[in-house]
Symmetry: D2
Subunit: 260 residues, 4 copies
């Protein structure tokens, strides 16, 4: 039936302007993600899928992006995301395109003393882009940790202000890097990592560990950078640290980047 | 080891003030939800779990709430949520408590003409409360639909402004009501329901259907109320309609409630 | 001209259902607010304005709500908000209505040791409702403070986890209560209040003060309740404390209420 | 007193890593902004202020950023923002820095037929950056408009779906460009602009105007681009169009950019 309906998008455009990105944004869709150990996790992905539109075409075909997503049966990892991206650029008959998907990802963590297990949530974004025939991958994780202020510790008779902090690692790589690898690096370079479930013995451990290991936002981005600098798979990175300061109603923030 | 660590929370409080709710808020946790057809869906629940604290106790035991959640193996529906709630009040040795969990819930929808299938997302909240030994259930769904303005249609030579609209149904019931039942009612009382994936034939259908079926926010809450009034399982309800107006940068809003 | 255009909203409705609230939601509008010292502060108010609609009327007149707001020249305080509310119910010819306005409110704070001055922001909501001819006022403030965990302090060899905390006071009163009064109470019952601008001498003070003054979320709501219980102007209140825990990725939460 | 307190931030760092941005993020502060007509508007600015930190310095001085803001007496426009930026880099003794401030900005709009006046809110960001001794300015406005789908209009017997849309213009310029200029361009290239307060005569006008002027997200970014291409002051731009689709629960999106 739809063959008899006018296709306005396919008309010729005469304004002479290519469009760098056009498609769908913020579509929530259930997908599975491959974990480092090979098992799969059900997540809800917030998808943005766009293509480059040549100057002479009036519009893209929005429904095809959702079709590509609906047809995606394989769990997402870097390899399957790139395959999905090629299916999208083929289906839309374009040479450049991009898929980015954000989701909350859960890992079981073991409390440091009691050994109690609980899930921790991390915000993750996987993005893949085709440009000039080559695909590039970007992996981003936002890792909640605790940070304790070195200045506050040193100048005070007792105590030290500390707070929740977000360490965000955004990594461009030629070879796949597991989400779990980036989370582990971030957690090990904070004043201390954090947990869903802690008993008193764990709370004592975290409190003392953070006090023994004070870090500014500047320290955390530098220490993570030293770690990423040792990984030959990583082309570019951006590392951010944001302290939701407990003595202010604003954040302390630092960013360090390397462009390959 | 933790047996030798001081338990500050268990101390006596002398301020003479009971606390109506104390516990954990906004904990994101992976759980499964039972669907109407008996199958299960993996969701990420945002949990708030609280209890009433007697006046003579200094503090609650925060870690026990997470333990209850970590031990929850059964998929959530009204029955299993109430069982979880009783486990919580038992474990914390209190007489009143509440669990509320918000999550995005997906249903496959079939486009009205092309028959194409795609997932649609709905915000859901299930809440259960124990007070004086009895448990009460509240189910809330936020259903995105389209609404077309009757006034704009009638006064204009052609066209009519329309927009995305959220219909929110909050229902207190003695017997279980499926999430799917509430979604179906909301979608059938809007100007038209909406879809992730539509072909041109579907777009034509939705456009014309909404134009033939104009509704104010007032109409939508009244039409849903007429439907809920026919359901003997429902004790109380609150129905909200919010138009993200396409001719304004604010919303039109209506609310109708019935308290049993 | 508009007199010749059909007025769809004014038509008769036959569904037999009154609507409890109908109007506009989330309209951002520039207004002024009266401060405790009599001066005025420019704020941006997020307004929700609704009326009760009788069962026999099809729809309300949405534009009149915005007219009432546009005509509001006087700075808002409890008295002028109630006058505005009566203008709204008169203009819409109804017996019940409600205006709620949320805004960020700034106060100059003086750092505790250095004496440096900086602005602090607080989220405020003023609401007024007419029901059965009488107006009722609700004032809400969200006050960011720091809280230090008594358990963590007591069980640890050194340090104690602390974090940003929101103390939310919602007060129903017969007589006006200044925003500033509620902020002062909340700040004085936290482990320590916080500041936009602190020098090292202030940071030392805040760190040590919080360490000397550990409080659970339970303690903060009780201590604020004891203060509000002494104020004869207050009819009802609800006090909430939410710790954005530095050792978790979720909040600890407590609520205490008094219904007059 | 603070002279006798250890200055941890000033210590030498040996990790050999410069930090690209360090400072404060999301500090809400009351400021004034200069309007195109020379008058001033009170706004609440959400400030992010950062500097580049040399590799051999351990940390920046966070309090100095807030001092710079607290000392800012002049209303913000491009000229005064750059002066503020130079004060910041001088005070922190660095060669590169950046200030970005987001705020809601209000303009009085006149309804197209009735002539009724009401305020409309726009999200604005002004950013200034110093790099290699030169300052660069970026102005961003998010303009809410209405968009009507050309495809839906053409294929349907009557009606056409339309929705709220955000047009976002981000402009790098050598010479100042007024916020009002960018808003005017965006509003004139949508299907129709929108208003806080409309009477029925205005609603009829907007409905018909949008129906006569259907535009895809692709059309809007191209039409705005044609306008910006004519302005010699503009070096680079990025234009985004996001339709909060009334027939979907996700957005249609387009982006066009020019890098000078």
């Amino acid at each position: 039936m739809s063959s008899s309906i006018v296709d306005v998008q396919n008309r010729t455009d005469t304004r002479g302007l290519a469009i760098h990105k056009v498609g769908i944004k913020d579509l929530l869709y259930p997908v599975r993600v491959k974990q480092q150990d090979g098992s799969e996790q059900s997540v809800q992905g917030l998808f943005t899928m766009t293509v480059r539109l040549p100057h002479h075409v009036k519009g893209t075909h929005m429904s095809r992006f959702v079709e590509i997503l609906q047809q995606q049966k394989e769990a997402l990892d870097h390899e399957s995301l790139i395959k999905m991206l090629y299916r999208m650029t083929d289906r839309l008959n374009v040479e450049a395109g991009e898929i980015a998907v954000k989701f909350n990802y859960f890992l079981d963590k073991v409390a440091p003393v009691s050994g109690q297990i609980s899930a921790m949530d991390y915000q993750v974004q996987l993005a893949a882009e085709i440009r000039h025939g080559a695909a590039q991958l970007v992996t981003q994780v936002v890792v909640p940790v605790t940070s304790l202020c070195p200045c506050s510790k040193e100048i005070s008779a007792y105590g030290a202000h500390n707070q929740r902090c977000h360490l965000t690692l955004t990594v461009v790589s030629d070879e796949p890097i597991a989400i779990e690898e980036l989370i582990t690096i971030a957690e090990s370079e904070a004043s201390c990592d954090i947990y869903g479930l802690v008993k008193r013995s764990d709370e004592k451990y975290i409190t003392e560990r953070a006090y023994e290991n004070p870090k500014f936002v500047e320290d955390m981005v530098r220490d993570v950078a030293l770690r990423l600098n040792q990984d030959a798979r990583i082309v570019d990175y951006e590392i951010e640290s944001e302290n939701f300061e407990s003595i202010h109603n604003h954040s302390a923030y630092a960013l360090i980047r390397r462009l390959g």
